[in-house]
Structures are given as C-alpha cells and as structure tokens.
C-alpha cells in the first residue's frame, strides 16, 4: 500500500501533463513535497498553519509517528501496568522506591491511558484523516477524468506488442475497444474523428482500470479510524465487572453486588442488564497423569439464570472459551477456588458463624489458598491456608500435591479480641486486621474435614464442616465490540484490494499497413506500482485476445525478469 500522503502540489500535474509520461510523476512527487517548507518559507500566520498542516500530513511524519507508537508501546509491555496487575506495580514501588514515583508521573505504569500515548495516536489519526479525505476527493475526481491520450510511440512503454490486422485502422481500434470494454476498462477515444489537431490524431483508444486499488487504500485507513471510534464508544458506554460466586449462591447484576465495577464514563448503575444468576455446581478436572499432570483439563460452571427478574429461568454451562451471553452482556468464567465451610461457636457453645468462606489461591498450580474467618460476636478471628490435597512435608511445611480436593485440610491461626467490625471503616472480607487481637496458641492448627478445634481457655471452637467451590465471573458489556470487528474486517478487505489490484492502462493504436490492406495495430500497456506482479501475464493474455485467435503470434517486446 503506497502513496497515502502524496502532497497536493504534484497531483495537479497528472491530468494535463502527458509529455512527462502516461502516469505523470506522482511516484516521485514526495521528493519535492515531502521535505516541506525549508525550501519555501511560509508567508504569514496562515501560511504557518498551512505549512504545519502539510508537515503533519506528510509521509515522513506518519513514519515518525508510527515508530513512536511502536516504541511507546514497549514500556507498556515490559513494566507492570496498573490496569492488569496492580500488585506488581506495588512490588515495583517496593523494589525501586526512588525511581517508581517518577515513572508514575510519566505515566509509565499506565502507558496506554497516558496522555503522551494518546497524543501519539491522535496525531497519527489526524495525519491519517488529513490525507485520506483529500485523497478521497481526488479519487472521485480521477474517476470522472477520462484516461489520458494514447502516447505516440507505444513501443517505449514497459509492455508492448504489435500485430497485423485485416481490418482497417478504424475498425481494428473499434474491435480492440470493445474487447477492452468487455474487460471493464474505462475507455477514451479521440475526438473529432482522429483528425490532427489537439493531439487526438490517428486511430487509438486509451483504456484504464484498477481504481479499486485506491478505494481499498482509503477503506483500509478509514476502517482504522472506525476501530478507534468503536474503542472510544466502548470505553464510554461499556463496563466491566467481576463477581465471586460460591456454589449454591446467586447474584443479581447490580453495582452493590459486584466485587469490582469499572464503568465507562457515561455509564450509571441503572444501565446494568438486570439479570440474575445462580451457580448450581462447579466442576474442575485436572490431568492426573502424563506430562501435564496437575494442569487443568476442563472447567465447567453450571448456572441457572434469568435475563430479567421473574423472567424465564434457563440453565447453561459456562466454560473457558464458552461465555454466557445474557441480554447483550457476556459472562465469562475467569477463575475458581475453594470455599471451606466453617462453624464457629463461642465460649457458651452458641453458634456465632456458619458459612462457606472463599479462600483465594496463592498458588494457581496447586491451589493452596489463603483466607480468613471472622466471627465478631464470638470475638474470634482466624487466618490460615486451605490445602486441597494436603501433605505435611519432611521439614514440617504444609503443601498441596494436587489441585483437586483429594485430601482437603485447613491450617489456621486463631485470634481473639475485638475484630473492629462495628466501625465506620470497611474491611475486606479476605483480610483480618490483627492489631489489638491476641493470638491463640503458637503454631497453626491443622484440621481435616469434619474435625473441630476446641480453643484453649474456653474461648469457643471452630469446625471445618465441609467444602464448596467458588468461581469468579467477569461480566462485560462493550457496545463498541461489534463495530470494531466490522471495521477490522473492512480494513483487511481494503488491504487486499490495495495490494492486489493494479492500476493499469492499455493503449491501442492502429496505422494503415504498408501493403495497403488492413492495418498494423500496436498495443502498449503499463502499470503503476504493481505490487504483486503479474501485469506482464495480463498484458500478454490481453494482447493475444486483441490480436484474435486466428492471428499469428504477436511480436512481443517486453521487460521480463522478476
């Protein structure tokens, strides 16, 4: 794909200037226009703007901006980014305490939302629009302009052939013209019947084809713009949310329920699709043997859902690569873990807490998970690990052998005291603030399923009752998604057109034969920026067709080689 940014100055030469060559000098146009104003200083204020605009929309600027775009993306992939891994960003602050704040100011921890990155692609798109729009007008103009006149000496063209014809020059050219028209070439015939005068002397026809190339070029660039706009629309009107659901639990899609909610700028809570979903069962299977032992084989979350409150209940299996689509919103299975069920009783034996408590995996391979249990009324809190397939190693550490719950166990440290849950300040349900609490017993207490730990000092007890699993679901709504896809596919279509369609011209001239009967017809052809090659073959076959089946082989003169 070439020549997006041909400056205007050279373009005007094309329609009229035949003397320099049938295709004008467009390809070399940048040599003059691209370098811009150092040769021609702008006249005044408006001249500056015009000159600046020329600079912006020049090919060279586009190149520089493309490089900057590529270069600017590199830190976004190498440094931890706030959007995808905030804890890694925190880690970076810890390990680079002096450098990190400066990097944050430069936007290096959120590169793709940083103003300087936005400036690069906005400039690039401004440059793009500034070129594409005028070129669209020029394309329309050139589609209306007829092809140039046939040059006098067709033998000087890159491809040329000649053949004798039994028809008179006029008729031979007519026959050629009709064949070319059959191939959907646009034609130009001499005016005033071929009498000498305005350069239209002789019998000739000029034909041109291949405007789709430029059309493809423009479609490609405009589609990129469309992708950008679609992304913007998605960002404004879409939202992403996360939700953790335990087996047996349900949730309604409302902001209060969602663990995380990232709305677009113009999204409010009432824009959420009002569906409800219950997680009936979650099944995870792991490879038990072979090279991938311990790796997940399949995940399946069986859910019952209704698109609207009171609407028809449906069931579905959400799996990785198989999201649930509800009311234009997509629900994805993102993660999973275990939620052991605990029962905590106070010193008097009264049950203070009983619930499946989600533990968060610390190791995604073995699903060793961390969690806390809070029973404020019993003044008890617990912190510890859950291990799906427990083994006590030789040096006394508790580890998990396998991610499936083959031998589940928990190991807890107990705390007693005021958990601080009757205060204004929110707490994470996954964290226990142990300040002001008294630790119970020295080492963590290990419990297998069904076991009870009676706490010393009559403080109460905790029982590991049973086990459930939880899934984390991502709920996303992106109205710009489908438009972005459509624009992306259009871009590819445009690319293919601009690469593989050639703009080419064929000329046919006929002069009376020396012997007096019939004529000698010369065919010439050339192509402009033949990216994929193959014009030579096209010319050969067209010439053969023009010459007719029963004519002797045309006398070829052509450039060969690759």
């Amino acid at each position: 794909m070439t020549d997006v940014h041909t400056p205007r100055s050279s373009e005007s030469a094309e329609p009229a200037d035949e003397a320099t060559g049938p295709f004008g000098q467009e390809d070399n146009g940048e040599a003059g226009g691209g370098t811009g104003g150092t040769a021609v200083p702008p006249a005044a204020g408006a001249g500056w703007l015009l000159w600046g605009w020329r600079q912006l929309t020049s090919m060279r600027t586009a190149l520089v901006l493309l490089f900057l775009l590529a270069l600017g993306s590199v830190p976004g992939s190498v440094l931890p980014q706030q959007g995808s891994d905030p804890s890694a960003v925190q880690q970076y602050y810890v390990s680079h305490p002096w450098l990190a704040p400066w990097m944050n100011h430069l936007g290096l921890f959120n590169v793709f939302a940083a103003p300087w990155f936005a400036a690069i692609y906005l400039l690039l798109f401004a440059s793009l629009v500034g070129c594409v729009v005028p070129r669209t007008f020029r394309l329309v103009g050139s589609a209306r302009t007829p092809p140039p006149r046939a040059p006098r000496n067709l033998a000087r063209l890159p491809q040329s052939a000649s053949y004798p014809s039994a028809l008179s020059p006029d008729a031979a050219v007519d026959a050629a013209a009709s064949i070319l028209a059959g191939h959907r070439f646009r034609l130009r015939r001499p005016e005033n019947g071929g009498r000498p005068g305005n350069g239209d002397a002789g019998h000739w026809v000029a034909a041109e084809k291949g405007y789709l190339r430029e059309v493809g070029n423009l479609i490609f660039h405009l589609s990129l713009l469309g992708v950008l706009i679609s992304i913007a629309v998605g960002g404004l009107f879409g939202y992403k949310a996360d939700e953790l659901v335990v087996e047996g639990g349900s949730f309604a899609d409302t902001t209060a329920a969602l663990d995380e909610f990232h709305p677009g700028r113009l999204v409010t809570g009432s824009d959420l699709a009002p569906f409800r979903l219950t997680l009936d069962k979650f099944t995870a299977q792991y490879f038990t043997s072979g090279q991938s032992a311990g790796e997940p084989e399949s995940f399946s979350a069986q859910v019952t859902y209704a698109a609207t409150p009171g609407g028809q209940q449906r069931t579905d299996n959400i799996e990785v690569n198989h999201p649930l689509s509800v009311d234009s919103v997509n629900v994805y299975l993102i993660g999973h873990g275990y939620a052991p069920v605990f029962r905590v009783a106070n010193g008097q034996g009264k049950v203070s807490y009983e619930e499946a408590t989600p533990f968060i995996p610390a190791n995604t391979g073995t699903l060793l998970s961390d969690g806390v249990v809070k029973a404020p009324e019993a003044s008890l809190g617990f912190m510890g690990v859950f291990v799906p397939t427990a083994v006590m190693t030789a040096n006394g550490t508790l580890e998990s052998l396998f991610p499936a719950a083959d031998n589940p166990a928990v190991s807890l440290i107990g705390y007693s005291g005021n958990l601080g849950m009757n205060t204004e300040v929110s707490q994470s349900v996954y964290q226990l603030d142990t300040t002001g609490l008294t630790k119970i017993s020295g080492s963590p207490h290990l419990m297998y399923q069904g076991q009870t730990w009676t706490l010393p000092g009559g403080r109460g007890s905790i029982t590991y009752v049973g086990l459930k699993q939880w899934v984390s679901l991502a709920i996303t709504y992106d109205p710009g998604q489908v438009p972005a896809l459509v624009c992306g596919l259009l871009a590819i279509a445009g690319l293919l057109l601009s690469f593989f369609v050639r703009r080419r011209r064929m000329f046919v001239r006929a002069v009376p034969a020396a012997s007096g009967a019939g004529s000698v017809v010369t065919v010439g052809g050339l192509t402009r920026s033949d990216a994929s090659g193959g014009f030579e073959d096209e010319f050969a076959s067209l010439s053969a067709e023009l010459a007719g089946q029963d004519r002797p082989e045309p006398n070829y003169q052509s450039e060969t080689g690759a």
Partner: protein, 189 residues
C-alpha cells in the same frame, strides 16, 4: 534558513501542545467514575419513583410482603453482617425504631450476601428488634437499583406512606440525616 528552522520548531511544538491537551481530555473522559461517596438523595413530592414491590423470607423464616407496609413510612436498610459500616449504624437505626416505631414508621433490613444464621447472630448481639429479609443474591437491591441510584452497602432507602421513594442515603447514614429524611417522607402532598 534560520527563520524556517525556528518556524519548524514552533509549529511542531504548537501542534504537539494542542494535541497533548486533547489527549489529556480524552484520557480524563474515558476514565470511569468512582463509587458514589456518602450522599443523600431526596425526591420532591410528585417526582418520587415507585418503590418496587417484593416478597421475601425473613431471617427467621417467616414470609414478608413489602406491600403490607403500605400506609407506613418504611426505612429499608441494605446491610450484611460482614460489613463493618452496616454493623456500625445498626444500633442507631434501632434507637430510631424505638422512637418512631409507634408513630407509623417501620424499619426493615435487607440482608445481602449473608446467611440468616450469621445475620441473626449479629442482630441478637446488638439487640436489633426490627426484622430483616434474607436476600443473599442482591435481588431486591437489583430491583431498587432500576429506579434509584443504589451503589454499595450500606444504603438506606426511605419510602413514604404511598409506596414511593422519598429519599435515600448512599453509604452510612447519621442520626441527623435519618430524622431529616423521616420528616421529609412524612410530607406526601
């Protein structure tokens, strides 16, 4: 030559400056809004949204129909025993219940993401006497979020005698805010 070079620099700088400003605007525009902070919303008479009806089970298992509360001012508090600010404001709500319960004001809790047992444990520990409905999946909250801007727990919604939402407080509510809302809700004409 020097003039042209200076103009190059200045024009380039101007274009880049203009675009950085635009880029900044774009960046700010596309960042999502954070959660709504503590704030009170009041609806004047005539513009009050209809409170969605619901039927649910109380923590003790008895059915509760919201429609049966028509004719009283209802204070509906979304809370959970796992939520410290909710636990913090509950005794204050209980006090208001004592003061206004006989004057046509009913207090009702909507216990979310919780088990009835855990919620009852909390209620009995701080001696809450008003009932709560069990709403583990936020269904009732979702219904309300279609008409009023509910965002997080806790949220307290005050419904007037005609079954319309008079106002709500997002986040924790203070004693003063409650008394203001109650007198606001009392006016229905």
């Amino acid at each position: 030559m020097f003039r042209a070079k200076r103009r190059t620099v200045i024009t380039a700088a101007a274009v880049i400056a203009v675009l950085l400003a635009g880029a900044l605007a774009v960046t700010l525009l596309t960042q999502g809004k954070g959660n709504a902070s503590d704030s009170m919303v009041e609806y004047p008479v005539g513009q009050r949204p209809v409170a969605p009806d619901f039927t649910a089970t109380s923590l003790t298992g008895t059915p509760i129909k919201f429609a049966s509360y028509r004719g009283k001012i209802v204070v509906l508090n979304f809370w959970g025993s796992w939520c410290p600010p909710c636990r913090n404001e509950a005794p204050m709500l209980e006090v208001l219940q004592q003061l206004y319960g006989s004057k046509g004001v009913s207090f009702l809790g909507d216990d979310v993401a919780d088990t009835p047992q855990n919620a009852l444990v909390f209620d009995s520990s701080v001696h809450i006497t008003y009932p709560s409905v069990n709403d583990p999946g936020y269904a009732i909250v979702q219904d309300f979020s279609q008409v009023v801007p509910v965002s997080d727990t806790p949220t307290t919604v005050v419904i007037d005698r005609t079954g319309h939402v008079a106002g709500l407080v997002l986040g924790t509510v203070t004693y003063a805010e409650m008394t203001k809302l109650l007198s606001y809700a009392a006016v229905t004409k």
